[in-house]
Symmetry: C2
Subunit: 213 residues, 2 copies
């Protein structure tokens, strides 16, 4: 891959989708897949699949398609998910608990190694995963000690920025924010926001209007 080339975020999202479908294809016993079929499964057009993969090299065989297993491995390398990542979560409410038990994270190499809360009734409690809930005041030290790489925020919006700052102070540079508020971080750091209600706003807008994707 040419390091100098900037890749659109939408391409990265689609690579992630392609990867999921390739897993399913492998599970179903397929060894090869055409760009047309992969495109159909992912609801994009075949030219888009070829263009997205083209950023990173030549993977397919003309007229034959892609090797299902090879392409998975290539995409894993591109996305840097060919290794495991250490995550910590702040906010062990309903959503936090659900995420801690969500099987999709460990299945994809994302492991929760610590969980924090402010609630005295929760601190010290052992979660179904075996993790013990820790006092949020320990966040900075524990996250450093455990070499956490990604911080997950499931606190109420009013304290989300404060918690983000704690994560950043422990040298974590990537945050996944489930709290419905904007978090400000320095340019060196990354935040991805997951706001359910924004998705609902998009749905309701679309239900009323025509929308250009």
């Amino acid at each position: 891959m040419e390091k100098s080339k900037k890749i659109p975020k939408a391409t990265i999202k689609r690579l992630s989708l392609y990867y999921r479908q390739l897993e399913l294809l492998e599970f179903d016993g397929y060894r090869m897949v055409s760009s047309e079929k992969l495109a159909w499964l992912c609801q994009v057009n075949p030219a888009q699949v070829r263009k997205d993969l083209g950023y990173f090299g030549e993977f397919g065989i003309r007229g034959v398609g892609y090797d299902v297993r090879d392409l998975q491995r290539e995409i894993k390398t591109i996305l840097a998910v060919n290794r495991s990542w250490r995550m910590a979560i702040a906010g062990v409410g309903n959503l936090g608990s659900a995420l801690l038990q969500h099987q999709n994270f460990p299945a994809r190499g994302f492991h929760f190694v610590a969980a924090f809360d402010v609630d005295r009734d929760k601190i010290g409690m052992t979660l179904p995963s075996g993790l013990r809930v820790r006092d949020i005041r320990e966040l900075r030290q524990v996250a450093e000690d455990l070499e956490v790489e990604i911080g997950v925020i499931t606190t109420p919006p009013s304290v989300a920025q404060e918690v983000a700052d704690l994560f950043l102070a422990s040298h974590i540079s990537a945050l996944l924010n489930f709290s419905p508020t904007q978090i400000h971080v320095p340019d060196c750091c990354l935040v991805e926001n997951i706001d359910f209600t924004i998705k609902l706003d998009i749905l309701t807008y679309k239900l009323k209007h025509e929308l250009d994707e």
Copy 2:
């Protein structure tokens, strides 16, 4: 608003963000806000704010800014969230339960009116919200009777398409899919996907590479 003009999806997402920040500004006692300040709060540039709002009309006063309360009302109308929406959820696992209790949904006018599962131990159970879990086989009839408008899918990926088809059969045309798989729907219907692991893939990719937004 000119009905003929197609609005980019990114604009709709940002309107949703502007709205959240306007709520906070009102809460903090602000009556007016400049496009610069609103832009800073939402981490976009001021020209973008003006362009996004420009699709829908003239809202600001040159040199003064926007009326915080008026602009909220306008955006609510644009997003069609100036009313309440009836939702049903399929899959009352950890994530489903967390969503059913998530205060952000009712606060924004999104109300769960039904919850479905296949698990015999869950069917008939009364949830903290007072909703009773129903047999998924009742989905089609109940969703019609209760005039559900949005279907939320929190099932395992293996049955997500089947559940989507049930929702569509009950004349629901908008789905919010939390299951990490692609759902195929006819052109007349809408799906928004929320896949946590795609966001993590984006983070890990960014941690490794430079990325063009």
